[in-house]
C-alpha cells in the first residue's frame, strides 16, 4: 500500500493509496463509527485502517484515530464531536476545503485534545519526510508507536507514500523482548522512529545483537540519557541518528542529525535547527528573536509556525482555533537556550511548580535523573498535602544497566540539582512504566500505583 500525494481535479491535495506494503499488522476489526463525511477509528495497525482513513480524507471528510485501548465512553464522546463537526462543516463548505485528520494529543502535558490536521499540510509533511530520509520502495520502517500517535505520520504514512514497507509492531507487545527481537531479525528494517520508552524496549530486546540494516533512527518525544544513546549506537552501528522536536499541533519542526558516534557521546542532545519551511522564534519576555544560524545567544519560550500546522482542535462539535499569537505562531510552552550555535531544551513552562517557595521544573528533575544513567525512565510530581509540598519521583531500572538503590540515585542527582529541587520521595518500579494511548508514561496510573503501595 502506498500513500502518494497528488493534486487531483479539486484544489485540495489528495492522498492516493497504491503501492506500499504493511506487514505484521493486526487483523482485528473494531467498533469503528463511519459515514461518508467522517470516520472514527480505533487505531488498530492494519491496512484497512489506512485505506479507510485515506478514503474519508480524500472525500474531504474527517478521520479521527483514537487509541485501541480507549473506553467505549471515550470513543462515543469523540464520535459525537467529530460527527457534529463533520456534518456542520460539510453543509457549510462542502469538500472543497479538503479532509481533516484528527489525532488526540497524549495528554501528558494536559487534558487530551483532538487536533485537526488538514490534508494539505499533511501532504507537505509526508513530502518532507520522504525527501529528508530518502524514503523509497526499498525503505522498510519498523513502526513501534500506536497509529493514533502523530509520530506514525512519519514512520508509517510518509513511508507508505513513497512505496516503502511498514512493519507494524503491535503497540501492546512493546515490552515483549522476544517479539521485538523477532521483528528485527526477520524483517531487518532500514528505518525506525523511537520515543524513549520504545528505544529502551529495543535495547532490551536486542540483548547485545547489532542491526546494521537500520540506516536512520529518529528519536522524538523526550530526553534519552547518554548511556542509553551509547547502547543504541552499538545496536544500530550503521545508522544516522536524528533528534526531532515537535508537537501534535505543529508536527515536527526541529531536527538535529548526528552520526552514531556523536549520538552516543554527546552529553545532552541539541534540539536542532528548523526543518525547511518551519519558522522558529525564541520569546524572552516579549522580545522575540527568529532562530537561524547567525542568531545571537538568547533564551526563551519556543514559538513555532510550520507548513503542516493543525487548523485547531475539534471541541464540542466545532473547530476551536489553536492558541496562536497575533502573528500565527504556536507557543510550545517549552523553554530553550540558543548559544554557541546550538539550541538546547530547558524544560517545559507549564511543568514549573513552586516547592516551599522555590520554583522547580519537574522536567529538569526527571532529566537530571536520566542523565545519571541509573534510571530508565523518570516521572516527577508534586504533592501538597500537609505539612508541606513534597516532590515525588518514580523511576524504572535501565534495561541496559543494573538496579540502583535510592541512596545511589539521590547522591548522583544531588551532584547537579540544588537541595530544594531534589525529589523527597523515590518510588522504584520493577518493570516498565504503564504507558498511555500514545506510548508515553501514564502519570495518573503511575501515581495511583504509588499511592496504593
Amino acid at each position: 500500500m502506498t500513500l502518494t500525494a497528488t493534486t487531483a481535479k479539486a484544489a485540495a491535495p489528495r492522498l492516493e493509496l497504491s503501492a506500499g506494503t504493511i506487514v505484521e499488522g493486526e487483523d482485528k476489526r473494531t467498533d469503528d463509527v463511519a459515514s461518508l463525511e467522517y470516520g472514527i477509528y480505533r487505531a488498530t495497525k492494519n491496512r484497512r485502517l489506512i485505506d479507510e482513513c485515506a478514503e474519508v480524507l480524500n472525500r474531504g471528510g474527517v478521520a479521527a484515530l483514537v487509541p485501541t485501548t480507549a473506553t467505549e465512553t471515550y470513543l462515543k464522546s469523540v464520535a459525537e464531536q467529530v460527527e457534529q463537526f463533520a456534518r456542520s462543516r460539510h453543509q457549510a463548505e462542502g469538500t472543497a476545503s479538503g479532509g481533516i485528520l484528527a489525532l488526540p494529543t497524549s495528554g501528558s502535558t494536559g487534558t487530551p485534545k483532538l487536533v485537526a490536521i488538514p490534508v494539505a499540510g499533511l501532504v507537505q509533511f509526508l513530502q518532507w519526510g520522504q525527501d529528508y530520509f530518502n524514503f523509497d520502495a526499498t525503505t522498510l520502517s519498523l513502526s513501534l508507536s500506536p497509529w493514533n500517535f502523530d509520530v506514525s505520520l512519519l514512520d508509517t504514512w510518509a513511508v507508505l507514500s513513497s512505496g516503502g514497507t511498514v512493519v507494524a509492531a503491535e503497540a501492546a507487545r512493546l515490552h515483549d523482548a522476544a517479539y521485538l527481537a523477532r521483528l528485527l531479525d526477520e524483517h531487518r528494517p532500514t528505518f525506525v522512529q523511537v520515543v524513549p520508552s520504545t528505544l529502551d524496549a529495543l535495547i532490551n530486546a536486542a540483548g547485545g545483537a547489532t542491526y546494521p540494516s537500520i540506516r536512520n533512527v529518529v528519536l522524538t518525544g523526550g530526553v534519552v540519557a547518554q548511556p542509553a544513546r551509547a547502547a543504541a549506537a552499538k545496536l544500530f552501528p550503521e545508522a544516522t541518528f536524528h533528534n526531532v522536536y515537535g508537537a501534535t499541533e505543529v508536527n515536527d519542526c526541529l531536527i538535529e542529525t548526528l552520526s552514531a558516534q556523536q549520538f552516543a557521546g554527546t552529553e545532552t542532545l541539541p534540539l536542532g535547527m528548523p526543518i525547511a519551511g518551519c519558522e522558529i522564534y525564541l520569546d524572552a519576555d516579549g522580545e522575540r528573536q527568529p532562530l537561524h544560524e547567525a542568531a545571537e545567544a538568547t533564551h526563551g519560550e519556543l514559538l513555532v509556525r510550520t507548513p503542516w500546522m493543525a487548523d485547531g482542535y475539534i471541541h464540542e462539535g466545532s473547530m476551536t482555533p489553536l492558541p496562536v499569537t497575533a502573528d500565527a505562531l504556536y507557543p510550545m510552552k517549552d523553554q530553550a537556550l540558543w548559544a554557541n550555535g546550538q539550541l538546547m531544551y530547558q524544560g517545559r513552562r507549564d511543568r514549573v511548580v513552586k516547592v516551599r517557595g522555590q520554583r522547580v521544573n519537574l522536567e529538569e528533575l526527571e532529566n537530571a535523573a536520566r542523565r545519571t544513567g541509573l534510571v530508565g525512565m523518570a516521572c516527577a510530581w508534586l504533592t501538597d498535602t500537609a505539612p508541606a509540598e513534597e516532590l515525588h519521583m518514580a523511576y524504572t531500572t535501565p534495561d541496559h544497566g543494573t538496579a540502583t538503590t535510592g541512596l545511589q540515585l539521590r547522591m548522583a542527582m544531588s551532584a547537579t540539582l540544588p537541595a530544594f529541587a531534589m525529589p523527597n520521595h523515590l518510588h522504584a518500579f520493577a518493570g516498565p512504566f504503564p504507558l498511555n494511548g500514545n506510548g508515553k508514561p501514564d502519570l495518573p496510573t503511575i501515581k495511583s500505583r504509588v499511592e496504593s503501595e
Partner: protein, 86 residues
C-alpha cells in the same frame, strides 16, 4: 542500640522509605539528597524533643548540625534530658 541507629531508623521509616536504615551512611547530607527539607527538619526536631526530652524551645539550635545522621545523633546526646540507659 546507639542513638545514631535510632536516628537512621526514624529517618528511613519517616522520610526516605526508598532507603533502609542500614544503607544510610552516618555522614550523608540529608538536605542535599532531598531526604530532609526545612519542613521535615522541624518534624525531626519534634521527634527528638519527644523521644529524648530535649527542650528545643530553650536551647540554641544550629541547623548545620542537623544535616547528617551523625550530626543529629550528636545534637541528641548533647541535649537529651531523659534517663539514658547503657
Amino acid at each position: 542500640m546507639p542513638t545514631i541507629n535510632d536516628v537512621k531508623q526514624y529517618i528511613a521509616e519517616t522520610f526516605a522509605t526508598d532507603i533502609t536504615a542500614d544503607q544510610l551512611p552516618s555522614d550523608v547530607d540529608l538536605l542535599s539528597t532531598g531526604i530532609l527539607t526545612s519542613v521535615t527538619t522541624v518534624q525531626l526536631l519534634g521527634w527528638c524533643a519527644r523521644t529524648y526530652k530535649i527542650p528545643i524551645n530553650t536551647i540554641p539550635i544550629n541547623p548545620d548540625e542537623l544535616k547528617t545522621p551523625e550530626g543529629i545523633a550528636g545534637f541528641i546526646e548533647t541535649n537529651r534530658t531523659d534517663s539514658v540507659t547503657a
